[in-house]
């Protein structure tokens, strides 16, 4: 027996995140570590439960093992409800054969029966690529109040940035009149955040029609939204003015982490009224040793720090030996940074070993040709041998 739900969330988490290179070699993008103790997916999942949405389908496809393990029963997010809760939804075989998810719309289409079980009035479509805190219930109320068929959350971005996003063109009443995917000359600065609320009956129909259209690309941005606009359905923009960041590239992932250290950026992880939940490590508190210097950084449980840390995010269970230097960098869980190693402007993946006197990355001011400079990346489970060098912008996924 299923209890009717007002709103069910469908979280698109199957993307490869190919622009994160070595960091998504063995895990889907939503499982990539962020912010010292989180994975990206903690943000939409915590937003759901904090917004009163207790039924979430997570659509997985690319490298789902880490993600499935992480989600588990959903208990860390209080999403292990008797009625509802979080469900991992990988592609499956049917009597008609097996199919991968061929696009965002197709992924939801293939799970229509999952949504139908809860007979919801509304469905919220989320993605596992963004860092933000948002009360979806306010957006849902707006959707109800405006009696829209679809509501799209938008963020006002700068004109330069606008060509990187899906851009909404609205009338004076925030009704969406047109939509452009990554326009060269944007006609508006309202960027889609990839968060949609649909009246389920409407979306259901459009999903089926789209599926039957063999030429369609089965994508929300390319098909569903334009098709609804064409049919003169009521699509409205919901303005969001908080912190929101796409973490699809090495640079944006690095920046989104560093944003946590910036007192002027409104992403407060310490707010008890809107906690971001995660699977907690079972480790003793961190130890900061006599020889350590730690400034302007975030450090998680189980770390043993004897080196020098400045402007960095250090995940659980990391060891930083005496004399090692970590600046402007992100060190993911379980890695060991040995004595004399220098890490600057870098992302070091999970369970890496950086041997003595190795150097990873460099400060931008030390490189004369700025096109040569970028954040250096060491993939997960990699050993960088004694004295070895990883250059700025270099991405390694094997031992050197």
């Amino acid at each position: 027996m299923y209890i009717k739900k007002d709103c069910v969330a469908m979280l698109l988490a199957g993307g490869q995140g190919s622009r994160l290179y070595a960091l998504t070699q063995n895990m889907a993008k939503p499982a990539v570590p962020y912010g010292g103790k989180y994975r990206i997916i903690d943000f939409p999942l915590s937003n759901c439960i904090n917004s009163g949405i207790d039924t979430v389908g997570v659509l997985t496809q690319y490298q789902p093992l880490v993600l499935h393990d992480y989600i588990g029963t959903g208990q860390p997010w209080d999403l292990d409800n008797i009625h509802g809760g979080v469900h991992s939804l990988p592609p499956f075989q049917t009597a008609l054969g097996a199919q991968w998810y061929k696009g965002t719309a197709n992924a939801i289409y293939q799970n229509i029966s999952f949504v139908d079980r809860y007979d919801p009035e509304y469905v919220i479509i989320l993605s596992g690529d963004h860092i933000y805190k948002m009360d979806y219930s306010k957006m849902l109320n707006y959707h109800k109040k405006t009696e829209a068929d679809a509501t799209i959350a938008v963020l006002d971005v700068s004109l330069e940035e606008a060509s990187r996003f899906g851009i909404m063109i609205t009338d004076d009443n925030d009704k969406i009149v047109d939509f452009e995917e990554k326009p060269k000359e944007p006609r508006s600065t309202l960027a889609s955040m990839g968060i949609y609320i649909f009246t389920w009956k409407k979306l259901r129909k459009y999903l089926i029609d789209n599926e039957n259209d063999e030429t369609a690309s089965k994508d929300f941005g390319k098909d569903i939204i334009p098709n609804m606009l064409k049919d003169n359905q009521k699509l409205v923009a919901y303005h969001f003015d908080g912190y929101w960041k796409d973490v699809g590239t090495i640079d944006s992932l690095w920046e989104a982490n560093m944003d946590l250290l910036n007192p002027n950026i409104p992403l407060d992880l310490y707010d008890p009224t809107w906690k971001i939940y995660s699977r907690n490590p079972i480790m003793p508190p961190q130890y900061i040793g006599n020889d350590a210097t730690v400034e302007n950084s975030m450090i998680s449980e189980g770390c043993v720090i004897n080196g020098n840390i400045d402007f960095s995010i250090i995940f659980a269970g990391v060891t930083i030996e005496q004399g090692a230097v970590v600046r402007d960098s992100i060190i993911m869980p379980g890695s060991v940074i040995k004595s004399g190693a220098v890490i600057e402007y870098s992302i070091v993946g999970e369970d890496c070993v950086i041997e003595e006197y190795a150097t990873i990355g460099a400060r931008p001011e030390t490189i004369s040709d700025k096109s040569e400079w970028g954040v250096a990346v060491v993939g997960h489970n990699v050993t960088v041998s004694e004295g070895a060098k990883v250059l700025p912008k270099q991405i390694i996924s094997e031992n050197i």
Binding site: P76, Y270, N280, Q286, I288, N296, I299
Partner: protein
Amino acid sequence: MNENTNVLGLIFANMHDHTVVDLTKERTMGSILFGGRYRLIDFPLSNMVNSGISEVGVITKSNYQSLLDHLGSGREWDLARKKGGLHLLPPFGHVGSGIYRGRLEALYGVWQFVKNSPAEYVLLSDCDIITSIDYEKVIKQHIDSLADITVVYGKSILSMEQAVNSTVLSVNDDDRIFDILLNPQISGACNVSLNMFVLSKEFLKNIVLSAASRNQYSFERDVLQAHIKDYKIMGYMHEGYFSKIDSISNYYKANIALLNHEIREKLFIDKAPIYTKIRDNAPVKYGLDSNVKNSLIADGCIIEGTVENSILFRGVKVAKGATIKNSILMQDTVIGQKCDINYVITDKKVMIGNFRLLTGSQYYPLYVGKGATI
């Protein structure tokens, strides 16, 4: 780790409450905060779970709200089980029982629960010992030696004050205990009981029922001491690191000892983690002018001042210009700007305003009670 369904764990959460009255004013011994993120009961409970014991009863007496809140369903210790799992056993009153005077009366009060367990052996433990111990070895020795009772002990150099709160054993070369001193006025190297005992359920039943009919309640006095000749009472020497919480100054020492790398390695073993309640705090944030040395810092702290040789529990805030030295700041303590704090223990949710100066001494740290504002 194999499931050891043959052993029932019983933890006494209120034993020794009187030795640290400040800390147990509003909580049980078992729910005293320790080591930045733990409560004392996390140690016996995790040791039991790590030894494969999957059914544990926690016997309480008074002030147990914080304990119930901490343990919940037992899920964090993997003890929210259909078979076995965690059972909270508050005093259960019926004619001739209720609030108990000692271990035997407490056991008599919960006997229905013990009786219903399928386990053949019972492991009893208090919450006053901080250690990591493999109970499987204790139980194996108990069975192999055909003992009636096995008492876990450690070697320690006791001061007069410590001995008064201890049970001291004399053990011969075959691990047999031949003399027991309760709360003796002695000092020096001793075999000190770690207040952990193994017995078969059948044997325990006999002594509990027989004690009840004789109005006896002290396990140590009326069983161990009284029957030292006719029962086979064996000692199990625990060689690992342990500390005993029996006064506020030893509580302070046991916490500060965690700043020693070797001691942390002995307590927090990868394969035998110490579990505790989860609070979903963000990582620790260190500000621009933070200066932290030789300290243990738990999640959710925000540090903008100087911290040395101290233990900070979850959610502690240290404002700019404040200096914390040699102190233990429990959960959600807030230290104002330019405070100078030395040899201080603050209980939960203490607020210390700007420019305050608080100083205790190494042997008598200043204790600030729960929720106080200075």
